[in-house]
Symmetry: C2
Subunit: 400 residues, 2 copies
Amino acid sequence: MSAPAGADLLVRNIGRLLPMTGPPVESAALAIQNGLVSWYGPAADLPERHGDVSELDAEGACVVPGFVDAHTHLPWAGSRRRDLEERLAGVPYEAILARGGGIHSTVAATRAASFDELVALTTARARLMLANGTTTAEVKTGYGLTRDDELRLLDVVAAVAAGTALRVEPTYLGAHAVPPDRDRADYVAEVVATLPAAQARGARWCDAFCDRGAFTVGEARTVLAAARDAGLGTRLHADQLARIGATGLAAELGCASADHLDHLDAEGAQALAAAGVVAVLLPACTLTIGEPTWDAARHLRAAGATIALGTDCNPGTSWCESMPYVVQLACLAYGLPVAEAFRAATLGSAQALRRNDVGHLGVGARGDLAVLEAEHEADLVAHLGARPVRATVVGGVVTT
Amino acid sequence: MSAPAGADLLVRNIGRLLPMTGPPVESAALAIQNGLVSWYGPAADLPERHGDVSELDAEGACVVPGFVDAHTHLPWAGSRRRDLEERLAGVPYEAILARGGGIHSTVAATRAASFDELVALTTARARLMLANGTTTAEVKTGYGLTRDDELRLLDVVAAVAAGTALRVEPTYLGAHAVPPDRDRADYVAEVVATLPAAQARGARWCDAFCDRGAFTVGEARTVLAAARDAGLGTRLHADQLARIGATGLAAELGCASADHLDHLDAEGAQALAAAGVVAVLLPACTLTIGEPTWDAARHLRAAGATIALGTDCNPGTSWCESMPYVVQLACLAYGLPVAEAFRAATLGSAQALRRNDVGHLGVGARGDLAVLEAEHEADLVAHLGARPVRATVVGGVVTT
């Protein structure tokens, strides 16, 4: 179906509305015309209706802008179940890699899957995201790791965007890992050479995994500088496993975002803030990997950086389609105040994707919203393990 | 409806069965007669059927014993939303208490609610527990804090047990907090004097909150020794906020369980193990409160103690009806291996309640089970924010 271009919808009986462009409104209504927000305010001030507009009764629930998921690795095949079991049983990661586990098992399964299988698997994940209130998502390739396999994944992403209501921002992540059978410099050159084709197949962004055991700062600079010159936006996996200078590179290149940041320090946070790089936190990954510290949010708040949130949805280190789950962890584990976590998951993530038409409900914005299973956004944070979202609207169309 | 006494049910097409009394069985079936497990094994070995037995098709999913939630504070009214918002915004707990927040706001709201309101609120929570695969739960009073209000809560618990399929173990927790308007010694004496009436109103257990800012070791000993003498089983909130000697008291008294244990050290773990006191971990509370360490499970495993799990469902520090959420956190935050976490959430919690008829699917056990939304129990742990349970069976009756 793809994101609806423009329906009309009147959302009535909103107990509490968070437009994000202004303070919360209690007992509110919101009107969508041709898929865009045309009015919101206290229900008592609702202008006279015109014609047979569809209506959605929020039944007193809290309504927020559709969540924007700033970081996902959605197209994959295969399972990393055994990795998790072994890791929790104390098997070292090196041993898991040595028996063929880790990212390379996902690459093998993804390459082996048919196009239709990959579309079906990825579509199911996109539908789960919609059911959890996400209306826009960044979606990365990165489990192909050959020119052809990566381009095929961009086609999968395009098919999923066409087949669901989710608004998708496709990212080419050829620089996810160096395939074990490839020379590093040769592979980096292939990634760079693939950029024009990736852009032609729908990629709007280029990302690189710059970390210990992944790509060096020099390699990532080569890829992202070429991507920028080719007209792609840039973003960077940074400071997840170790501090090797990736945040400095993101600031140097003016990336739209630096993501993960589990090992961020105060200096790195200041560099991101000064360069206007949005910091994308991925707490479901941080929990899954078992990082010992949750300091990144504190450094970022102190530095005044813009914070965004993402699920990091992937099979190995963050199998999670739910932004509400991420918002909960952002509050409870990172210690973000409730209002800041919701802001990060909407406006902040939209800024990480350089979009101003989503992530808020100001007049003229996309008519994308989530009706929470709660009267107040703080109840979504507090109520663990409960269904978080009652209905999701994209472009004025109720999708779930 | 209350827990069904005895229906017949044949569960077919189980992809993977965890009976807990033996190793997992792949491609299994399970038969329930008169509410009790009468057979399980490989589907190929299923004996000839007799009569018109109801069937449940597990569609290849993983089936586990119904979860046993070893620790809940289920009957309450009111909201602690503002506490959470203030705490995350950096307001000190003392200031939250000073403006009337914290436990005493829940006590006030609970006392003010009608019996029917309390039954309705608590029933809704019990139904959420069932939908998340819990079939047996310990349920505490503790938001009444007068003789009459506490006894009324026991009546609420009895009404919820009668009105749902959940098997309930009622606990009298008059020693939850000293009401601000009461003399400590006088209140402890009232709790002791209330024990016979509590038992007559259905309490099978007595608990006390022994911690910094709550009851002292001496006060808790007075309450629990009297409870033991009155024929009630005993359990203890221990080492949650500080190490004041509560685990030693639990060992001394031979309590069935010591619960929370966020500040447990190696010595405390050894004391619990030596005394046969089951250690009940409550990771959703640990996450909500933001405790800095997740060391308890490591100490308990090293000591060879029996570990159980609970939601700690309560309005202020763990609003969670979902044992799958707790199992996930037990693995990802505490680092429990997957098999140990499922064992803790079933067999371990049953042992914390001194029951051998639930928490496993051996022949003769209650026919209580959960059909997971997963082919394998490790996928339930890995898949964050997803629906965890497809169907719950209590005594051979499909309840959700």
